[in-house]
């Protein structure tokens, strides 16, 4: 099952990139996530591992994931090592006017469980899609808020100098 959400954010691509690749900020915008912990020595970048959990239905699912694509500032993807089989991807592209087009993708499979797995995949889909949509809304609010604050700080700095 693949879930997709996209949105254009009013922030430069570098700012969005630094937000989505920072493991400590994930809990601040990603909907449904209850844990996103660095596992191992590498904090960020290709090969970094995180222990993540999403609340879906009566359980928190997830497991250990590893970053398999880290193409600054465009593509950030991870794949599951243990736990629920899934892949996640942030796809960032520059848009007109210093904005960024952001796509968030989650693909998951409930493997080896036959009919119940097939059913579980489909029953979970609306929840996961909802989380993906909300994640983008929250990311939007977060980075745009930061842009506003940065602009305000610059204005104040100019006022103080003159």
């Amino acid at each position: 099952m693949r879930v997709n959400a996209s949105r254009v954010l009013a922030a430069p691509i570098e700012d969005v990139w630094s937000t989505v690749t920072d493991p400590e900020r994930v809990l601040g915008y990603m909907s449904g996530v209850t844990r996103w912990e660095v596992a191992g020595d590498l904090r960020s970048g290709l090969g970094a591992r995180y222990r993540i959990l999403f609340r879906v239905g009566a359980a928190e699912v997830g497991g250990l994931v590893e970053v398999v694509e880290f193409d600054e500032p465009c593509d950030f993807a991870w794949t599951s090592v243990t736990g629920l089989d899934h892949r996640g991807r942030w796809r960032l592209r520059e848009a007109a006017g210093g904005r960024t087009r952001v796509e968030f993708r989650l693909a998951y499979v409930v493997a080896g469980a036959g009919l119940s797995g097939w059913l579980a995949e489909r029953i979970a889909a609306p929840t996961v899609a909802d989380h993906a949509r909300r994640t983008l809304q929250q990311l939007d609010r977060l980075v745009e808020h930061e842009q506003l604050r940065a602009r305000a700080a610059r204005r104040q700095g100019r006022a103080a100098r003159s």
């Binding site: 959990l53 009566a58 359980a59 497991g63 469980a113 119940s116 579980a120 995949e121 029953i123």
Partner: protein, 314 residues
Amino acid sequence: MAEARTTTSARRNGHEPDDPIERPAPSGAGGTGSLLTRAWRGLAGAVQQRIPRADLDERDPDYIREQLPLFWLFSSLWFRGEVRGLGNIPDEGPVLLVGNHSGGNMIPDTMVFTVAFSTYFGVERPFYQLAHNLVLSLPGLSWLRRFGTVAASPENARKALSSGAALLVYPGGDYEVHRPSWEGNRVDFGGRQGFLRLALEQDVPIVPVVAIGGQETALFLTRGERLARLLALDRVLRLKVLPISIALPWIVNVGDFGHIPLPAKITIETLPAIDLRAEFGPDPSVDDVYDHLIRLMQDALDALAAERRFPVIG
């Protein structure tokens, strides 16, 4: 010969030879019908024979992984399960999870908790559950062993904990699980304290697991303790109860060899871990710890009960 076989199989299952099952019937019972007594003994022997050898290696992570979606469906859709505070369980190492037990023999709370535990920590983390002998000897339930269920005995518990696994125990057992529905929001271990001695001996932390909703999956009327005593079930099958409930599809359900649980909402709260020696000193009194734990769990259960607006619906 049958006696000898029973004793060996009891040892094999990790039961002490002086288990109640092995004790001779009191002489008072012998006179009324030695034939009946012998028949019961034969049944006891048969049950003992059927209890599988406790082999921790029978737990099969791949099997659990494949079954999780089915149980997740039941847990999410039928029981609208909600498990909180799993982060209170230490991330690794042996731990004794102590739960209040509800829902009759269909143990819906165990299912909801097992699904949540397995997805939270991953099926790779060794996790065992202690179950009543009778549960493990029933035909058609052998798959429970692959989930990590072992016969409840101090020996098996010790084995699991010393292997570094998480172990789920319901001290109240058959006594608590069949309490009447109107006592549903009461933690009642029936004074059983063996699990505390075990935790002290193995020096493992205790994590209380408090569940609500299970007792609303049927209308539990009585434990039927007197009936069980009358039929000598306690000596023969280690059963102190012969429960009577109103449950689907039987309407009147005596003994509870399975029923269709009502879709009651099940909420489970995992409380912070208790390091017994850090909190109660180097040589804690089991009675003190027991009282403390019951109070703690009862408080949590009262809070969960206060959240509920309607029975079954939640």
